[in-house]
C-alpha cells in the first residue's frame, strides 16, 4: 500500500547544552504538498530540518521516509534517501561554472575523466521539466542571486531528490525573484516533489503553502491547512500573542533639512559608476525610505554617506556643512548614526564583549577613556544601562557579541547608534533576518527617533517595510533618485515600476 506521507517525524527531541531545541516534535508531510514550517528564529525549525538532513542526530524519536523507518546518519544518507536541502546561504563554489557546481560530488564519468556531455544532457532534461533555466557555462560570480538559487535547486534534483527542504529561501531575493521562486516551487510540487519550506514570513505561506506546521520554543503549536487559517492567526500562534501588522505612528512633523545630497557621483568596487548625480534631502522628524532593486547604487550611497567610500563629485551637507569624503569618525562626530547592513561584519566586533561593542564609536572620548587608558568601570556601567533600556538578552555585559542571537546583536547596534544622539540615523536593512518580535522593536525605535526630531534614512529591500515606516519614499534606479512618493498615495505596483526603470504612469516593458 503506498504511503501518503513522504516524511513523518515522530516524537523528535534534540537537546543542546542548556537548550531543548526540539521537544517531542511530530511532523507529517504529505507527498506532493508544499508544507511550511513556521516559527521565529530560534524556535527549532532549522534544528529539526538539520536532523532530517542528517546533520544532527536526534536524542529521541523516529523518522520515516515514504513509510520506511530510517536512520539518517549523515547528509550522504539523506541524499541517498532522496532528501535535498536548499541552504539559506548558498553552498556554491564561486569560481566554478553552474555546471561544475551542479555535478560536484556526483560527477558523471567517462573513464577517469568527468563527462560534461552526460551532465549537460541530464541538466537540460531537468531544466525543461521544472522550468529552471540557467546557463550552465556561466560562473556563479556572473549570475544573479535568483539564478544561484536555481542552481541550488538543480543540485538537489540532479541528485535525485524528491523531498526538497527550502531554508528561508526568500531572504536574499528581490520581489520579482520571489515571484519566480514561488512559480518554480508550485511547478515542483505539481510534478510530484514534496516541499518543506522553512520560513517566518507569513505572506509567503499564505501565497504558496498547502499546510503549515507552527513551532514555538521547540514544540509544535499546531499543524493545519493554510486555506483554513489567516495570517493574523498564524502570527499569533507563532509568537504566542497577538501581533499587529500595522505600525502605529503619528503624523510626521518634518522640520529643518538635516541632510542634503547634491549631484553625488561615486564608483563601485569594480570601477563602474554606481552613483550618477544623485540628489536628495532628508529633514528632521521624518523617515525617508529608499526603495530599489539591489545593486542600483544603494550600497554605494550609504557607504559614501558614512565615509566608507569616496565620492568622485558632488556635495553632501549635514546641517549645511559639507562633509563628503571626510573620515568615518569625523562623519560620526558630525552626529550621524549608522546601522549597517551586515551586522556581523560591519556592525559588531563579534569577539568583543557587549560592553565593548556598545562603545565602539566613542571609546576614545571621556568618560570611557582618560589619559589614553580605557576605563572599564565606565564602559560596563554604560553597557548595563543600555542593556536594560533596550532589553538586550545577554547573560551580562562581558559576554562576547558572538554568543547573542541575531535580534539581540541588532539591538546592541541600535542601542549604540541611538545612544550617540545622532541628528541623522542611517538604517540599512535593519530587520533583515530578524524574527517578528525583534522587527517590531526595531521599527518602534526608528519611529521613536523620528518623533524625537531626528532625520532617519532607511534603506531596505523589503518593500513592506519601506511602505509601512516611511514618510516619504525615494526610489533609486541606476544610481539616481527616479521618484519621490508619498507612501499613503502609492502602492507596490507603482514603486515596482519605478524600481525597474519605468516612469510614472507609463506601462513600458523594461529589461
Amino acid at each position: 500500500m503506498p504511503n501518503e506521507f513522504a516524511v513523518e517525524m515522530k516524537g523528535i527531541a534534540k537537546r543542546f547544552p542548556g537548550i531543548v531545541a526540539n521537544d517531542d516534535i511530530h511532523l507529517q508531510v504529505r507527498k506532493g504538498e508544499i508544507h511550511a514550517l513556521l516559527g521565529e528564529n530560534g524556535a527549532g525549525k532549522t534544528t529539526l530540518m538539520n536532523i532530517l538532513f542528517g546533520l544532527y542526530q536526534p536524542d529521541e524519536g523516529e523518522i520515516r521516509i515514504h513509510g520506511q523507518t530510517v536512520k539518517i546518519t549523515d547528509p550522504k544518507k539523506a541524499i541517498d534517501l532522496g532528501i535535498g536541502m536548499i541552504h539559506q546561504h548558498f553552498m556554491l563554489v564561486e569560481p566554478y561554472t553552474v555546471l561544475q557546481n551542479i555535478i560536484l560530488g556526483a560527477e558523471p564519468r567517462r573513464g577517469v575523466m568527468i563527462s560534461y556531455k552526460k551532465a549537460l544532457a541530464r541538466i537540460g532534461e531537468l531544466s525543461d521539466k521544472y522550468g529552471l533555466h540557467v546557463d550552465p557555462h556561466r560562473t556563479i560570480r556572473e549570475i544573479s542571486v535568483g539564478m544561484q538559487q536555481r542552481v541550488e535547486i538543480l543540485k538537489t534534483l540532479y541528485r535525485g531528490a524528491d523531498i526538497l527542504i527550502f531554508d528561508e529561501p526568500t531572504a536574499v531575493l528581490t520581489p520579482q525573484e520571489i515571484q519566480e521562486l514561488m512559480a518554480i516551487m508550485r511547478k515542483l510540487a505539481d510534478e510530484g516533489k514534496t516541499i518543506i519550506l522553512i520560513t517566518h514570513k507569513l505572506k509567503e505561506i499564505m501565497a504558496i503553502a498547502d499546510r503549515v506546521t507552527i513551532i514555538r520554543r521547540g514544540r509544535v503549536v499546531d499543524s493545519l491547512p493554510v486555506r483554513d487559517t489567516t495570517a493574523e492567526e498564524l502570527a499569533a500562534k507563532m509568537v504566542g500573542r497577538n501581533v499587529s501588522f500595522v505600525i502605529e505612528k503619528k503624523e510626521a512633523q518634518p522640520g529643518e533639512t538635516i541632510l542634503e545630497i547634491d549631484n553625488l557621483t561615486a564608483f563601485d568596487d569594480r570601477g563602474c559608476q554606481a552613483l550618477r548625480g544623485l540628489s536628495l534631502e532628508v529633514r528632521s522628524g521624518e523617515i525617508l525610505g529608499i526603495a530599489g532593486v539591489e545593486g542600483n547604487g544603494q550600497r554605494e550611497l550609504i557607504e559614501v554617506l558614512t565615509g566608507l567610500r569616496k565620492a568622485s563629485s558632488g556635495e553632501i551637507r549635514l546641517r549645511g556643512r559639507a562633509v563628503q569624503n571626510e573620515s568615518p569618525r569625523r562623519i560620526a562626530e558630525a552626529k550621524v548614526g549608522y546601522i549597517p547592513e551586515d551586522r556581523q561584519k560591519r556592525g559588531l566586533v563579534l569577539d568583543f564583549c557587549v560592553g565593548e561593542n556598545l562603545v565602539l564609536k566613542n571609546y576614545y572620548a571621556p568618560p570611557f577613556c582618560k589619559r589614553g587608558l580605557l576605563r572599564y568601570d565606565e564602559i560596563f556601567g554604560h553597557a548595563a544601562g543600555l542593556i536594560g533600556e533596550y532589553d538586550i538578552r545577554t547573560p551580562d555585559e562581558k559576554t562576547p557579541a558572538r554568543a547573542l542571537s541575531g535580534g539581540n546583536q541588532q539591538k546592541v547596534i541600535v542601542a549604540r547608534e541611538v545612544a550617540c544622539e545622532p541628528d541623522l540615523l542611517i538604517a540599512t536593512q535593519p530587520t533583515r533576518g530578524l524574527d517578528v518580535g525583534a522587527i517590531e522593536f526595531i521599527h518602534r525605535k526608528l519611529i521613536e527617533q523620528r518623533d524625537k526630531g531626528k532625520a532617519v534614512l532607511l534603506y531596505s529591500l523589503e518593500l513592506d517595510e519601506i511602505l509601512n515606516l516611511s514618510d516619504r519614499i525615494a526610489v533609486m534606479y541606476e544610481g539616481r533618485i527616479v521618484g519621490i512618493l508619498d507612501p499613503r498615495k502609492t502602492n507596490e505596483q507603482e514603486i515596482g515600476l519605478l524600481m525597474s526603470g519605468g516612469h510614472k504612469g507609463e506601462r513600458e516593458e523594461t529589461a
Binding site: V93, L104, G105, M113, I114
Partner: protein, 321 residues
C-alpha cells in the same frame, strides 16, 4: 655559433635547477588548492634530500648496491616526505592551528632533525660523504642528436622527465577528473563541498601528504643530481623559491612550471656565468643573490594580483555557521 652554444648550455642547466622547483611547486599547489597553506615546502625538501642521500649512502657502502641505490633512496624520500607532512596536516586540519605557524615549526624541525640524524648515523659528521652513485643524465634517442636543441632539451636527469610529466598529470587530475574538481572545491568553499558529502578533512589530509611527497622528491632531486650529498645548505631556500613560483604561476600547474623555469634560469645564470668567465665583470655574489631577490619581489606581490584559492589558510570546522 658561440651564442647558440651558450644558450644551449643555459637551457640545460636551467632544467637541472628548475626540476627541484617544479616538484616542490607542485607540492605547494596541491596543498594550497585544497586550502592548506604550505610554507613548510623548505623543510619537506630537506627531509627528502636527507632521506635520499642517507639511504643511497648506506645502500652503496653497506649493501653494495650500485646504480639502483639512488632510485631506492628517491622512493624512500617520497615516503619520508609524506610522513613528515602528516603533523602539518594534523595541525592544520584536525586541530585548526595557524597554518603558517605550523609550517614554520616544521621547517625548524626539519633543519634540526636532519642534521641531528645525520650526526647520529654518521658518527658525528654533519653531512654525508659525496655519493658515488647518483642519477646520471639520460639522452632521448634521436631527439638528443638535434644540434643545440637536442642537448638543451633532451639530455636531462631522469628526475627532470618525471617532474615535467607530473606537471601534465597534475593539470589533468586538477581540471579533468572528479578528484580535481573536488579538491579545488574543498580549497574554495569547503562548506559547499561538505554539503554534497565530500569529506573535507580526508581531502585535505591526502593533499598535504601528497604535497610532502612531491616536495621531498624535489629535495631528493637536489641531493641526487646537483650536490651529490646532503648538508645543512643543500636546500638553502629553494622551498621558498618554489612557493614564489607557485604564487607567480597563480596556483596553476603549467604556469607554475614556467615560473619554476624562470627561477631556474636565475640559478642557471650563475653557473653559466662562471663557466664563461662573466663573473670577472659582475661580482659573483650579485649573481648568487639574483634568484632570492626575484623571490622577494614575487612574494611581495609586485607581479600582478595573485588569486589565491578562496579558503586557503582557513581551517574548516564542520557545522560552524
Amino acid at each position: 655559433m658561440a651564442v647558440l652554444q651558450v644558450a644551449s648550455d643555459l637551457i640545460q642547466t636551467t632544467i637541472v635547477f628548475a626540476t627541484a622547483l617544479v616538484f616542490a611547486m607542485l607540492g605547494g599547489l596541491i596543498s594550497e588548492r585544497s586550502g592548506v597553506v604550505n610554507i613548510a615546502l623548505e623543510g619537506m625538501m630537506m627531509v627528502g634530500a636527507f632521506t635520499a642521500a642517507i639511504v643511497t649512502y648506506f645502500l652503496e657502502t653497506n649493501a653494495g648496491l650500485g646504480g639502483s641505490a639512488p632510485w631506492i633512496g628517491f622512493v624512500c624520500a617520497i615516503a619520508a616526505g609524506a610522513v613528515f607532512a602528516l603533523p602539518h596536516a594534523a595541525a592544520s586540519v584536525t586541530f585548526r592551528a595557524d597554518q603558517v605557524v605550523s609550517g614554520v615549526a616544521l621547517n625548524l624541525l626539519a633543519a634540526g632533525a636532519t642534521i641531528y640524524l645525520c650526526k647520529m648515523l654518521l658518527n658525528g659528521a654533519a653531512q654525508t660523504p659525496t655519493l658515488k652513485h647518483v642519477f646520471s643524465k639520460w639522452a632521448v634517442p634521436a631527439l638528443s642528436d638535434i644540434p643545440y636543441l637536442g642537448p638543451a632539451l633532451f639530455v636531462a636527469y631522469p628526475t627532470s622527465y618525471i617532474a615535467f610529466l607530473l606537471v601534465a598529470v597534475m593539470a589533468f587530475v586538477l581540471y579533468k577528473t572528479p578528484a580535481g574538481l573536488r579538491l579545488r572545491a574543498v580549497g574554495e568553499h569547503p562548506k559547499a563541498a561538505d554539503s554534497v558529502a565530500i569529506n573535507v578533512y580526508r581531502v585535505r589530509y591526502a593533499a598535504v601528504m601528497i604535497s610532502g611527497a612531491l616536495a621531498a622528491m624535489g629535495g631528493a632531486t637536489i641531493a641526487l643530481t646537483t650536490t651529490s650529498n646532503f648538508s645543512h645548505n643543500t636546500i638553502s631556500g629553494q622551498g621558498f623559491i618554489a612557493l614564489a613560483a607557485l604564487i607567480f604561476g597563480k596556483w596553476r600547474p603549467v604556469a607554475g612550471m614556467f615560473a619554476a623555469l624562470f627561477f631556474g634560469i636565475a640559478s642557471a645564470l650563475k653557473s653559466v656565468f662562471q663557466v664563461y668567465g662573466i663573473t670577472n665583470y659582475i661580482p659573483v655574489d650579485f649573481i648568487y643573490m639574483f634568484p632570492y631577490i626575484l623571490t622577494v619581489l614575487v612574494l611581495a606581490g609586485f607581479v600582478g594580483r595573485a588569486v589565491a584559492p578562496g579558503a586557503v589558510g582557513k581551517p574548516y570546522r564542520k557545522g560552524e555557521r
